[in-house]
């Protein structure tokens, strides 16, 4: 299955999240079928990540955005965090620190951009600055409304330097979210995640949806596409994101670099040691 073309929002597409399904099962027979695909795909991703690391010319940036309980943490645990940690880092972006807030909104983001050969995974991102900031009225419209263009230019700069950018919106239904909130209540190990603010955000579901739709429409570019991932089934969320990352790395086609030592010389040194 071509997960990229299935879930990518093309530049110029109108986005109506209500009309995009949250419960897709793709072409999987069942959960186990999807999990087997994800495991196999994770292995293939690791192999390509290794090549990209050794090649040292390209990099990958994965941006995750989602309503609460949509599964960013699970996706990191089961897919993105399965990459070799020596070449992959996750960055959570929470409420800005005092120092961060004293700079433009991209300052802290830019510092976390992946170096050549590396992968960065953003758990939340600069998109919060046109999402929560907009819905909760933290800055005036004349400020946030200019940020779409600023973001596109920023991402174009990263892309021009050899960074592939994949942006995932994990799309869950309010019903599924509520069910997950219920499960948190049942499980004392999850009580630390409880928050009355979660319910306040649900009241603004429509406002957030609108903000997401505009962000995705304005900022899904050829060099930094957005993907809307059906996320009511965790196993489909994991499998489709793994599929997209895998297709992307294959397309990047990282190559082992030419050997820059004299193999005969190394072989001679080896033989000499062996003979000792």
């Amino acid at each position: 299955m071509d997960y990229i073309s299935t879930h990518q929002i093309k530049p110029g597409d109108k986005v109506d999240l209500k009309s995009i399904e949250t419960k897709s099962r793709g072409s999987f027979d069942d959960k186990d079928d999807a999990k087997a695909f994800t495991a196999k795909t994770n292995d293939a991703i690791r192999d390509l990540q290794y090549r990209m690391f050794v090649e040292g010319k390209q990099s990958l940036l994965v941006v995750l955005q989602a309503p609460d309980a949509a599964g960013k943490d699970g996706l990191i645990r089961k897919v993105l965090g399965q990459m070799n940690p020596q070449g992959c880092r996750t960055y959570p972006f929470k409420v800005p620190s005092k120092e961060e807030a004293a700079h433009d909104f991209l300052w802290r983001i830019h510092k976390a951009a992946p170096a050549k050969g590396k992968v960065s995974v953003f758990n939340r991102s600069h998109y919060e600055d046109v999402l929560v900031v907009r819905v909760e009225d933290l800055v005036p419209k004349k400020v946030w409304s200019k940020r779409y263009e600023i973001i596109n230019h920023f991402e174009a700069n990263l892309a021009a330097a050899g960074t592939r950018i994949l942006k995932f919106y994990l799309h869950i239904s309010p019903e599924e979210q509520l069910e997950r909130f219920g499960k948190r209540l049942e499980n004392p190990e999850k009580h630390w995640k409880l928050n009355t603010g979660d319910y306040a955000a649900r009241k603004k579901w429509g406002d957030y949806r609108q903000a997401y739709e505009q962000a995705i429409e304005e900022c899904s570019t050829d060099h930094a596409p957005w993907f809307v991932i059906p996320a009511d089934h965790k196993w489909y969320r994991d499998a489709s994101v793994a599929g997209i990352v895998h297709q992307t790395l294959k397309d990047m086609n990282p190559q082992m670099p030419p050997v820059d030592v004299d193999l005969d010389e190394v072989r001679a040194l080896y033989e000499r040691e062996l003979a000792k």
Copy 2:
């Protein structure tokens, strides 16, 4: 098996690496037995790491040092990198950058110290500044010889702030190293790792051993112990380090924090949403 007491160098111990075996099999029947133990222990580590993350009071620093081909990368892939990446980062310390070299040797190290709730894994570390720097004569003895005490004070400061420190020396024999170099020669995918410098370092094996012995003797403290890990068998290396990390996390005994929301209030909000 108590991997801590088996492999820990106690403060005041004399270290004679030649007399410490490199081929230990511990109490494992075979490789598969050890691998099953490591897999099970990795799960237990992840569970405790999650608690430490949520607790947010303590942190863990793992330092890895070893001769080339002793398996730091493999150990990270198979054990330390199995932790949840949202709470664990690996830091490679290579030849210092111009900016790093313009500061004291601990400056770049300190920046990578783990925050509360987090784990840092150092792939090489500040110990290079009493190892390669000493053997290759990069700074005068009167400079490096003062660093043991500086390191002990630095690590004591981290420990006082709630950081547990585990330092592993992966102990391989020169014969096993040569065998691994040979395998690199046979495998074109590994040719990028080849390096004539590896053979130059082998000529100084004795000097490096002495430098390691002194570093371990001077800096194995109660608050930051060194462990000498028999590393000729990769599976024993992985199993014993997993065992030590696991025992340490159990001893740190991280606790889920008390719930700071009103559970009844959250439950009422949940019920109200459910009834809609």
